[in-house]
Symmetry: C2
Subunit: 411 residues, 2 copies
């Protein structure tokens, strides 16, 4: 894409009300725009990042047999009353009625909707297990929407739901989702900590949260500096500095963190409340075993910016970058169009800054937007191309074919 056509252009300054790093950088660089407190437009750059995040999630959830679909956002009061959550969740759920007196809630999660679907379409054990997910908007009534895109009134989540004929089958799948989540956050480049958490009223088992250690986070977590042990602050009863209860070798450290995912083995609580039964091998009616598993994909974008930036701007990695390469054309550059086309023919997504503006401004904006590979062509580079990684100082002069080779191998 040509920079002259990309909407919008970067701002010279971050917005005045922006306190958090992700708010400052994502707005200034043109990834997101604030419609009102806690409500964000994902601009073309931001939408590209969220799509790349979603695609990694999709691949890993499909690999554990998830089936993608799409559930509604406006839901009837009656369905939430069956579990008592119309009242219990009234602080977080936007609730309203239409002129005919029908009452609705905007979905902040989809367990009840999924359970309604299951009770209509599941008959016997042979219909189970079932794994369904969607990427969808969630609404949450936040008294104080803050931290940029980390805590919004409206945000995007991937939520997966699983239905089983037995607890053993549920817990087996729960473990598979946990491993899939670890792969997802690894592929996205995070140092993600899995922490034990409480399950609320729904389960006596621990649930698990996926936490990104970051000063910009609102959570506090405790984890071992040597192994994968971790707990959130509701669960943790020990002392910082003590030996790890799992490996004994490491020490427990404390960190602020951003929660990007969570998984819940919900048991039969929802099925019992909503009368979602199946017939087992002995022709007995049994409640469906149920689990739910979320990842906040817009929050993942914000979390990355919190942990990967410098004083010049964002530093994307190649998995979630909005473009693979940023081609900066400076005065006297030769063959810019040809280079742009050749890179695209090699299967790369290219942002080509062909604008007739100040060279310094182009370089400042490139650092701000943070695409991992910057290519500069100018009078000085002649028939070559200046290669620079966003997170390194070193520049190199390469031929076009060397550039393509490197980009196809690594960046």
């Amino acid at each position: 894409m040509k920079s002259s056509e990309l909407f919008p252009h970067a701002l010279k300054e971050p917005p005045k009300d922006a306190e958090s790093i992700n708010h400052q950088l994502l707005v200034r660089a043109g990834f997101i725009d604030q419609l009102m407190a806690g409500s964000w437009t994902l601009l073309p750059l931001g939408w590209r990042v969220v799509n790349r995040i979603n695609q990694v999630i999709r691949e890993e959830i499909n690999a554990i047999n998830g089936q993608e679909m799409l559930m509604p956002l406006m839901t009837p009061r009656s369905i939430w009353q069956e579990t008592g959550r119309w009242q219990k969740a009234e602080e977080v759920m936007y609730q309203f009625s239409d002129d005919g007196g029908r009452e609705y809630g905007l979905a902040f999660t989809h367990e009840e909707i999924l359970m309604d679907l299951l009770r209509k379409r599941v008959n016997t054990y042979a219909d189970l297990p079932i794994y369904l997910y969607h990427f969808s908007t969630k609404f949450r009534n936040e008294a104080r929407a803050r931290s940029g895109i980390l805590r919004s009134r409206e945000f995007m989540m991937k939520d997966l739901y699983s239905a089983h004929a037995s607890e053993a089958d549920l817990m087996d799948y729960y473990q598979k989702v946990k491993e899939a989540y670890i792969r997802i956050f690894q592929r996205l480049g995070f140092n993600c900590r899995v922490t034990e958490a409480l399950g609320g009223v729904f389960t006596e088992n621990y649930t698990h949260e996926f936490q990104i250690p970051s000063e910009g986070g609102e959570d506090v977590i405790f984890y071992c500096d040597q192994c994968d042990w971790g707990q959130n602050k509701e669960v943790f009863k020990g002392q910082v500095g003590q030996p790890c209860p799992k490996c004994q070798k490491g020490k427990i450290i404390q960190s602020r963190a951003i929660e990007v995912g969570n998984i819940f083995p919900l048991g039969t609580w929802f099925a019992e409340k909503m009368k979602a039964f199946f017939t087992d091998q002995n022709n007995q009616k049994r409640p469906i075993w149920f689990g739910s598993y979320g990842i906040g994909s817009t929050r993942v974008m914000g979390a990355w910016v919190e942990i990967s930036h410098d004083d010049k701007g964002i530093i994307w990695n190649k998995t979630m970058a909005p473009f693979d390469v940023h081609l900066i054309e400076l005065p006297g550059a030769k063959n810019a169009l040809e280079i742009y086309q050749k890179l695209q023919e090699a299967g790369l997504e290219v942002l080509w800054d062909e604008r007739d503006i100040n060279a310094g401004q182009k370089l400042v904006e490139a650092d701000l937007i943070g695409i991992p590979v910057r290519l500069v062509i100018s009078e000085k580079t002649k028939d070559q191309i200046e290669w620079r990684l966003r997170n390194k100082e070193k520049t190199e002069l390469l031929s076009l074919s060397e550039v393509v080779n490197r980009l196809q191998k690594e960046s």
Copy 2:
């Protein structure tokens, strides 16, 4: 995908309250589920169809320089008050307030949101034109949600918005969108009619609707049986049977129809109301010229079912079918797994009915689901495969390589 794993299995009967064809067939075959009147879950089969529809739209809108993004659904009252639509649209817009007294509307369209974005990020004529679109949920307060997925309280739309420095540039782009829409509906297999329509308060120009002639439609349109002339019933003042005012050769006929798209040259009305100005070449402040362009992608799915079905079920075409081929394994079939894998290796999406159920039920469900190519393997077919198109009676015995060749060429 294996049929045993696909959620949900088909129903023996259509739901009792289903009046329209698309409601009956899409629910029974497992493409959609009704959460409440006018609110539908797109089940895995339905989501596949809508994704294929969206992908055709995306390709054609990208080809006319559209940039994809995602705007919020919950919007502040203040923004609608600037254009007067908070009051004017109160019958169709769900409006509510939170416990802090903040008032919100659920977006039934996004002109105001887009215009707010433009006034924040557009300065001069050099920033224009801009073409932005998203695929997103729309909400509409329908007193009587009906006609299955054709008239819902919540549905999916692609909406594109364009911003220009002059009327000429707007109208030039308007024409490009019209041509892109014609290509979209052609690629999707529709005989689509473009009809002139009124523009409401926003424009004195005609706007255009994209209409699919169908007995299941709620609109009435008038068009020439020889050329592309057409008008909707608000505009049409002639008589059915008269000569076409455009080509003179054809006759005007009348038909019920389903509106699947519309395009509006909105002029400067929104920019003037919302103070969205740019500076022109002479350093004068001017209001932005604006157009908006919608396609209801879930309605497109419903429209196809209305016009393409028989008494056995849906008849998809290959562009929007949920799978390319339906492989039916009957008792005594050899090499089912190998055939399934070979088809997938050839890049085809395959639904493989490997369930241990009655052969008749498998064939009935295949006709109901309506995938364009049905392959049957059984004791009788030996090393060959029985090929049948969903819309033809003829069956043929082919080798696996002949099947793959045909599927890669045509179907």
